[in-house]
């Protein structure tokens, strides 16, 4: 189980962020009920947060020997870990989330599907529009009509 894979750009930073977050959660877990009793609601959260902290520390310790990334600069991070297509897709997902309730599901999801397909296949808007329309109709029929899931609908409709 010896790790020989070279570290990826940002790997150590990610572990450190997780570690900081775990420490924060450990404090929060302690605040639930402290060491009040062995059956208090805070016992398991504290154990879980402690395990998180310890295992991350162990991971950091093990990885210390792993070869560092060949190119550790921010440019490499953006190239290998968060390439532009990922960031753009994430931006579209965030837009979908934010427009879901104000614009209603059909518009938000339709817009997202169209834009995302357009982005990922680099052009061909007609095909993107057709695929988006067909998929949207199928999803709407299955969820809203057949299974009565109340999808977000704009109030102004």
């Amino acid at each position: 189980m010896n790790q020989t894979r070279p570290r990826l750009p940002g790997e150590r930073a990610f572990t450190l962020v997780l570690l900081a977050f775990s420490l924060f959660l450990l404090v929060q877990a302690f605040r639930i009920s402290g060491f009040e009793s062995v059956s208090s609601p805070g016992v398991f959260p504290m154990i879980a947060a402690l395990v998180m902290v310890v295992s991350l520390a162990a991971a950091l310790f093990r990885d210390r020997a792993a070869p560092p990334p060949s190119d550790g600069g921010p440019a490499a991070f953006f190239r290998e870990v968060t390439p532009p297509v990922l960031l753009l897709t994430l931006a579209l997902i965030v837009a979908l989330m934010l427009t879901l309730e104000p614009a209603g599901f059909p518009f938000a999801a339709g817009g997202f599907l169209f834009a995302a397909i357009l982005l990922l296949q680099r052009g061909r808007p007609v095909r993107a529009a057709i695929v988006a329309a067909v998929a949207l109709t199928a999803i709407y029929v299955v969820f809203r009509l057949v299974f009565q899931v109340v999808l977000p609908e704009a109030e102004w409709l």
């Binding site: 790997e11 877990a29 059956s39 897709t89 989330m97 599907l113």
Partner: protein, 506 residues
Amino acid sequence: MEGSAASYFLMSWLDPSLLALTAAGALAGVYIGAIPGLSVTMAVSILISFTFSWEVNEALALMGGVFCGGVYGGSRTAILLNIPGAPSAIATALDGYPLAQRGEAGRAIGVSTVTSVIGGLMGVAALAIAAPAISDFALKFAPRDYLLLAIIGILLVGSLSGESLAKGVFAGALGVLIGMVGLDPMTAEGRFTFGQVSLLGGIPYVAAMIGFFGVAEALVQLRNLNVAPIKQKVDRIVPGWSVIRKYIPLSIRSSAIGVVIGALPGTGGDIAALMAYDNAKRTVKNPSRPFGQGAYEGLVAPESANNAAIGGAYIPMLTLGLPGDAVTAVIIGALFIHGLKPGPMLMIETPHLFWFTVGNLTLANLFTLVFGLTGIRVFAKMMECPRAILIPLIIVLSVVGTYAIQNSVIDVYWMLAFGVLGYFMKLYGYQVGPVILGVILGPLMDVSYRRAMLSVRDDPAMFAWELVANPLTLVLTLSIVLLLASQTPAWGAATARVRRWRRNGG
């Protein structure tokens, strides 16, 4: 009496409308199960209002069909898209998705269909033969036994960790913590709620499941946009008899796990599938491929177990009126609405119900086999859809599916946040499987541990004594000790020595 049992058994086979309802239920169930966010529990709840004015047998036939089809259907999307359609299919994704990536999606679906039905029929057989004995056995499980069961399950983290055990353990603990969010069910104390009303109810684990599996995988796939989709082999979909025969022993073993876990009130098909996967991983010596990389054994075990858990869940429901899982809880509600009185007297007051259910579930399994084996080609071909289209579709489906759990946009935010976190975790060598394991088992461990502790009035010495004082508990405790011991290097050396000694001495 024997004659009447047979006639009740055949009721849904001979009455054309019951037959058709069972078939319709199984067909609908396969698709409900396959779509993440649509759950069997939800579908059966909707059917309560819908079948209100029907005869009770008709309502039950439809619900039985949906139940069987639905538990099976979860495997579809787990194999094809790495999004388990239902929590009970999480373990299926672990080996199913790697199979699809090797171009064997069709065969994987075929094998999981057949073994699902074998498991389903084993569950029904257990219900028919041993219902009273199994339900009495299930009642014996005290809170401490649930705790030990959950610990056995969580030990699976060890084998799901991938490149680094430390990272796997972290992922498992993270899952446990996600499962703790919300008002503590025992004291109504807020845990990690940060004063937000939306967090009082916790984070639905289906949202975590869809995020960590579906969206994270979709984001990872963005990196391979220009790689041509995998060509799927669709020539041999229905597995031959020789293949099935090979998996039958494992299927039966997993079914036994499924029946017991399903019959325990408080655990259902999701936990059954994970435990069966764990068991298979420990006991199958020469899997078709290493587990986690597309082992058919990794499909057979969870799919047999989660379908066997259906029959298991009906056991306490029919004998005692106690639900074995979430779906049977809803069916019990439906029985009340239809004027029946689920409880220990149910089998005496409505004698037809037991054998009717057995017959109906048998039929529903056969329909699941039929519907499961048709249309696989179309599904498998879905994998060949260009990623530029598939990825946006997966994301929209994940959003709708998460929203459908309880019509909450906040759950969607969580799901997407987990998706992004899962992306980084996958990239940096953290497996996401243990997270879901933790989310499912964490709350069970938490409440069982505290109930057990409260039962001995917070006395740790007494608690430790109870772990060995009762035969059932002792067996579970010893299993954990053995499982832990078997993971230490000393164990490997010891077993090797025993094997050598046997070979030489025998």
